[in-house]
């Protein structure tokens, strides 16, 4: 149990690559929490993908002891938050568990869009914020310019920014002192009041079962007590209470202001909800903490095994991933073109990519991913509303009154010279400009955009038209009526369900043409002429023809060649099994994969 005044709970806000994890490592090291031989680089990011992509998916925490210049011992709880907009809600709960943030900005690169989105969240959480300029040792570092930028763009006083190099350790003692002197301790907290704790995150551990990370507001958490999760009214007997320092360490109890974990024979992560309030089952509080939201997927796609025989492996793999990530959803889906697979829902595009990558990497699966779709609200003429997240489920247009689509508010920071192409991209994608401001040689544009235009390769385009210099972040921003239609792709007059998509009418023709042209390149010529069409209802909006193959025969074939020829035929017939047959046309898997990628406009 630690005095409130000697506790500092904080998180680190940064853009990818600006040095968040390195700084965290230095702080851990400086507080002597680990022997240097135990230091692996970036301790907090434990999963491969997290380490490789520099993205934290799960919130993590480290408890550190620090003897300050005032001679007192302090307890720091460093919260590492997920670093991406897809996990904005998870981030907000993490921030709610802290009183302050370190804002880390690369002293040469300056503020990026992601920095902005994250720092605004910290400001919203009423955090005290200490700006930290990292990589100050690099020749390109320009602390004065970046300080000015922080003040101008974020509106934060940066005159006292701590200048450091997380890499060399320069300035780390100043950061530690700033944590003590400039961040506030937890505001209140009554040890004798009934237990009130915030569920920050949870994950599955092979040995411990579900591990729940929490922050106590009031009361005490200890082994043997029965706790209640208020959102689903479930209750559990606490088996272990502990902290990460950063090794898992069991403690007797935790009190107000403290951050730690509990285990309690909870079977699956889905039984715990981020943002939930944990209380004493025998002596519960009346009102839960504000701000709880169940997680809702916003992007959907179909995942199909390339080899149909992998369906069950895919099912098991998805179930395993869901054990640890309750925010993604899946249900079986069957497609005439792609066979059996799953319709999956994600918090965002990055979340989708992460799951897809983990399936391919950790479970060794080859997957076909259909075009991502957003969730449309379809209002019917009979007054009912249904949520549509699979183009295949589009109701009869005669029965539809209107369709609403989700919009986002996007911040884009881009060097001046690329501003024009970024504006064009946003306009092309039906965007509406909200704001355009200049900060030195960079512009910050705020746009409202339909999410369905963003899930469709927007990020790739943004990077390519700005040569990688634009940074981008967004928040969900309500629904709006849109003139949306279902576009089907037909091969020899037979619709290919896996390629159907919901598009805005104004964009349908372009998309249809693009997809038909792409398919023409990807489908090999066959014995018959192949017609590829894009259509809205019965109206064809684009068409391509693949002419029949004229010559496909071995000129010379005598006695010796028969075995070779037979083996070749066997191989080709084996290859046919991996093709999808639509309208008597054999479409190679690669054609689906490539057509669904659509990386170039």
């Amino acid at each position: 149990m630690t005095e409130l005044s000697q506790i500092r709970n904080f998180s680190i806000v940064a853009h990818i690559d600006h040095g968040k994890s390195t700084l965290a490592d230095r702080l851990i090291e400086a507080c002597g929490a680990l022997e240097s031989r135990e230091m692996t680089s970036q301790i907090l990011d434990s999963m491969d993908i997290e380490r490789e992509r520099g993205i934290t998916i799960k919130a993590q925490t480290v408890r550190l002891r620090y003897r300050a210049k005032d001679g007192k011992d302090y307890v720091f709880n460093l919260m590492d938050t997920p670093g991406h907009v897809d996990f904005a809600y998870e981030v907000s709960r993490c921030l709610a568990a802290c009183e302050g943030s370190l804002l880390v900005v690369d002293a040469s690169q300056g503020v990026e869009a992601q920095t902005l989105a994250n720092v605004y969240q910290a400001i919203e959480a009423n955090h005290e914020i200490v700006p930290v300029l990292n990589k100050i040792d690099l020749p390109a570092a320009d602390p004065e310019r970046v300080k000015a930028q922080i003040e101008e763009v974020i509106g934060l006083d940066a005159s006292d920014a701590v200048e450091i190099s997380a890499k060399t350790g320069l300035g780390i003692p100043d950061v530690l002192e700033a944590l003590v002197t400039r961040l506030p301790p937890p505001k209140h907290g009554d040890r004798d009041a009934p237990l009130k704790a915030l569920l920050i995150d949870s994950w599955y551990d092979a040995y411990l079962g579900v591990v729940v990370l929490f922050r106590i507001i009031d009361g005490v958490m200890k082994k043997g007590m029965k706790v209640r999760f208020m959102s689903n009214k479930s209750n559990y007997l606490v088996e272990r209470v502990g902290v990460f320092n950063p090794k898992r360490t069991i403690v007797d109890e935790l009190g107000p202001g403290e951050v730690g974990f509990l285990t309690a024979a909870i079977k699956q992560v889905a039984d715990t909800n981020v943002g939930d309030t944990i209380t004493d089952d025998r002596n519960p509080i009346a009102e839960p903490l504000p701000g709880f939201k169940p997680s809702v997927p916003v992007v959907f796609c179909g995942l199909f095994p390339v080899d149909a025989a992998d369906f069950n492996v895919l099912r098991e793999s998805l179930a395993k991933l869901r054990l640890n990530d309750a925010s993604f959803h899946f249900e079986t889906e069957s497609s005439a073109a792609l066979g059996f697979g799953f319709r999956c829902g994600f918090l965002g595009l990055l979340h989708l990519e992460i799951i897809q990558e983990r399936l391919e990497r950790e479970f060794n699966l080859d997957l076909i991913t259909t075009a991502p779709s957003v969730v449309y609200k379809v209002y019917m003429t009979d007054g009912t509303m249904q949520e549509l997240h699979n183009p295949a489920d589009m109701p009869d247009v005669m029965k539809i009154d209107r369709i609403e689509e989700p919009w986002i508010k996007a911040q884009i920071l881009v060097p001046d010279e690329h501003l024009g192409s970024i504006l064009k991209l946003c306009e092309d994608r039906r965007g509406r400009q909200i704001e355009l401001t200049y900060h030195g040689s960079r512009a910050m544009v705020t746009y409202r955009l339909p999410l369905n235009e963003v899930v469709f390769d927007f990020y790739d385009r943004l990077k390519s038209v700005s040569r990688g210099y634009a940074s981008f972040d967004y928040q969900m921003d309500g629904h709006e009526i849109g003139d949306l239609v279902k576009m089907s792709i037909m091969v020899n007059a037979e619709p290919v369900d896996a390629l159907a998509m919901i598009v805005h009418k104004s964009r349908a023709e372009m998309r249809g043409r693009q997809l038909c042209e792409r398919l023409k390149e990807l489908i090999p010529r066959q014995l018959f002429k192949i017609a590829i069409q894009a259509a809205i209802g019965a109206r064809v909006i684009a068409r391509e023809t693949i002419s029949a193959m004229r010559k496909d025969v071995l000129a010379k074939c005598y006695g010796g060649d028969i075995s070779r020829k037979r083996k070749l035929l066997d191989k080709q017939k084996e290859g046919k099994k991996r093709m999808r047959n639509v309208g008597n046309v054999e479409i190679p898997q690669e054609a689906f994969i490539a057509a669904l990628k659509m990386n170039d406009d």
Binding site: Q526, L527, F528, A548, M549, R550, K551, D552, V553, L554, A555, K556, C557, Y558, G559, G560, I562, S563, K565, R566, L569, D570, Q572, K573, K576, N584
Partner: protein, 397 residues
């Protein structure tokens, strides 16, 4: 079923022939992936004894068969001494009964040195010569790596005709950059020179050949398939008009003058493969086909023959599915198509059980195949895309 212009009337089975491989060449042609080897010196006597020993071996396995054809292929069998041909033919005649009209073919290069020996081969019993002319202009002959000139080739054709009467020659077309006009003129000249038989192949870039490397390095690009198809169609029209209709995808003959030996392959008959790298197909009493494959390297083959009496490296039992596939792969190359009765005799299966009938119906509607109780035939258009047709119609096991 359209009538083929083959020399033999449809018999109950595919016939029986003997293939003899002479694996040596003066130089390797850049398009060729046949089993050929260049050697400074060849011990003709030892190789001849090897061939004879292997003939003895196979004769014991195929008693009572009647030989319709003997074929000396290569390599370059015209490099073989005529006495070798004589010994081989003699040994075959000692073991098996030869049909009265037995066809004995020798492949030959049309250069003057080899042409001088045509009379010797004729005296040894060879009654048909097939010449690798390949092109009728010197520039393309050079591109194809041939060592003869057009003038030499024309002289050799004449000598062969005088020596054995029945001759054929090969041309390779759809060469890089070849226009329809160029090929039409060359083809007309070839038709004028031809006797009863012509083999006209579109150039195929075979894996592992110098041409494959050259294409990979970008030294030349093969003619695109559409242009090659146009040349193929032009070829069919002109040969048909000249009475040399295609009886197989690349082979043309006057009525009754088809290569009897190659018909054995295409009708999926039995054949013995003698010599280095030769293949054979022999069915046993149970109707099971055995595929034999000899050691490819001439010296390895010779060592084996001298030790074991045969140079077989591998014998494979061709299962039902394999026999069915092979009979279709070969038979549909012929204008006469696959005869249902002969198919039954050579594969032990009914043709109707071997086909994916949905695919057959689809292809028939598109005019690519004709199917009835007598058999299955690919149309001229169907033969041009035969590999695609086969992928569709051979039923999955």
């Amino acid at each position: 079923m359209p009538s083929g212009n083959s020399s033999t009337a449809a018999s109950a089975d595919g016939g029986f022939g003997i293939y003899v491989h002479w694996p040596f060449c003066r130089s390797k042609c850049p398009y060729c992936d046949f089993n050929s080897h260049v050697r400074d010196a060849v011990d003709d006597d030892r190789f001849t004894r090897g061939l004879l020993a292997e003939i003895d071996h196979y004769a014991a396995l195929t008693p009572g068969r009647e030989v319709g054809s003997i074929f000396f292929g290569g390599g370059t069998p015209s490099l073989m001494p005529p006495v070798t041909a004589e010994a081989v033919i003699g040994r075959i005649a000692r073991h098996w009964r030869l049909k009265p009209d037995v066809e004995i073919t020798l492949e030959a290069n049309p250069n003057s040195a080899e042409a001088e020996r045509f009379a010797g081969f004729a005296a040894a019993g060879v009654n048909r010569i097939s010449l690798g002319v390949q092109a009728l202009n010197d520039r393309d002959l050079k591109f194809l790596g041939r060592r003869h000139s057009v003038a030499e080739a024309l002289a050799a054709v004449e000598l062969a005709r005088r020596a054995v009467g029945r001759i054929s020659f090969d041309l390779i077309y759809a060469r890089p950059g070849q226009s329809e006009a160029d090929w039409a003129a060359e083809l007309d000249q070839a038709i004028g020179l031809a006797g009863e038989h012509l083999s006209l192949y579109t150039l195929t870039i075979e894996a592992g050949t110098p041409f494959a490397q050259a294409v990979r390095r970008g030294e030349f690009a093969p003619l695109d398939p559409d242009a090659a198809a146009a040349l193929y169609e032009l070829t069919q029209e002109r040969t048909l008009a000249a009475g040399l209709e295609a009886y197989e995808i690349s082979n043309h003959a006057r009525p009754g003058a088809a290569s009897r030996h190659n018909l054995v392959y295409w009708r999926y008959g039995d054949y013995v493969g003698i010599g280095a790298g030769a293949h054979g197909r022999l069915k046993d009493d149970q109707g099971v086909k055995r595929a034999t494959r000899n050691w490819r390297k001439p010296e390895s083959w010779l060592d084996r023959v001298e030790q074991a009496g045969h140079g077989v490296e591998e014998t494979e039992l061709v299962d039902r599915g394999g026999r069915v596939a092979e009979a279709l792969i070969m038979g549909l190359r012929l204008a006469e198509g696959v005869d249902a009765a002969r198919f039954r005799a050579e594969t032990g299966s009914d043709l109707k059980d071997a086909l994916d009938h949905q695919a057959v119906a689809r292809l028939a509607r598109a005019g690519l195949v004709v199917y009835d109780e007598r058999g299955l035939t690919a149309s001229a258009a169907g033969r041009l895309v035969l590999d695609g047709v086969l992928r569709e119609i051979v039923a999955q096991d």
